[in-house]
C-alpha cells in the first residue's frame, strides 16, 4: 500500500511569489490533514478535510493560505503571496473514517523556503 506522498519535497521561492503544495493521501482515506512546522517551533495543525469538505480550518494562519481537496482525493495548499515567515516544513496526513481509534499517516513533508 502506497503511503502519503507530498510534492514537491523542497521549494525555494521569493517573497511575494505563489507556491502550491500537493498531498496525495492513502487511497480510501476520507480524512486529510495539513500541518506545518516553522523554524524552531512545534508542529501546528492547519486544517482538516473530510472528503472534499473542510471540517476544521481553525489553524490556517491567514487568508494567504488556501487549501482545496477536489473530489475528495488529493489536496493542494496554496500560499499567495508567500512571506518570509511562511518558511518551514508542511506535512500532510491522512486517516480512515473517524470511527473509533485510528492513526494519522504522515507524508514526508514539503520544505518551503521563502527568500
Amino acid at each position: 500500500e502506497a503511503g502519503v506522498t507530498q510534492f514537491p519535497s523542497h521549494s525555494v521561492i521569493e517573497k511575494g511569489q505563489t507556491v502550491t503544495l500537493r498531498c496525495d493521501p492513502i487511497s480510501g482515506h476520507d480524512n486529510l490533514y495539513w500541518y506545518r512546522r516553522v523554524m524552531g517551533k512545534e508542529i501546528k495543525f492547519l486544517l482538516h478535510f473530510v472528503k472534499e469538505s473542510k471540517q476544521d480550518e481553525s489553524g490556517m494562519p491567514n487568508n494567504r493560505f488556501l487549501a482545496e481537496r477536489t473530489g475528495g482525493t488529493y489536496s493542494t495548499l496554496k500560499v499567495q503571496p508567500a512571506e518570509l515567515e511562511d518558511s518551514g516544513v508542511y506535512f500532510c496526513a491522512s486517516s480512515q473514517a473517524p470511527q473509533g481509534p485510528y492513526e494519522q499517516y504522515f507524508g514526508p513533508g514539503t520544505r518551503l523556503t521563502v527568500t
Binding site: 512545534e42 495543525f45 514526508p108
Partner: protein, 109 residues
C-alpha cells in the same frame, strides 16, 4: 484541545529500557493517547495508541493510569536507531492532533 507536556530531551545507553512520560491533565473523555516517532527530514510515524490501562505492540508499550492524566511510553532495549523525537498526542477521532515540543531521545553507544 488537550495539550501535552513532555521532557524536552532524554539520553539512554544502548540496550536499556526507556520510559518517556507525558502529562495531559485536561484530557477529554473521548480522547485517545497516541505516540509518534519522528526522524530528521521525515514525517511523524505512528508508534502506539491507547485509551486506558496498558497497550503493547511489537515495538513499545503504553501505560495509562486510571485517571488518564498522564501516560508513559516504554521502549524496551533501545538501539542507536531509536534516536529520534517522540511526540505524545491527545485527541478525539476525527480531530486535529496537538503536537507539543516532543522528547528528543538520544541513544548512546
Amino acid at each position: 484541545l488537550a495539550k501535552t507536556t513532555q521532557p524536552i530531551s532524554m539520553d539512554s545507553y544502548e540496550g536499556q529500557e526507556v520510559n518517556i512520560t507525558c502529562s495531559h491533565n485536561n484530557i477529554a473523555t473521548n480522547d485517545y493517547i497516541t505516540w509518534y516517532q519522528q526522524f530528521p527530514s521525515q514525517g511523524p510515524r505512528f508508534i502506539i495508541q491507547g485509551y486506558k490501562t496498558k497497550v503493547t505492540n511489537e515495538v513499545a508499550s503504553l501505560f495509562i493510569p486510571a485517571d488518564r492524566k498522564s501516560s508513559t511510553l516504554s521502549l524496551p532495549r533501545v538501539s542507536l536507531s531509536d534516536t529520534a523525537v517522540y511526540y505524545c498526542l491527545v485527541g478525539d477521532s476525527g480531530n486535529q492532533f496537538y503536537f507539543g515540543t516532543g522528547t528528543s531521545l538520544t541513544v548512546i553507544p
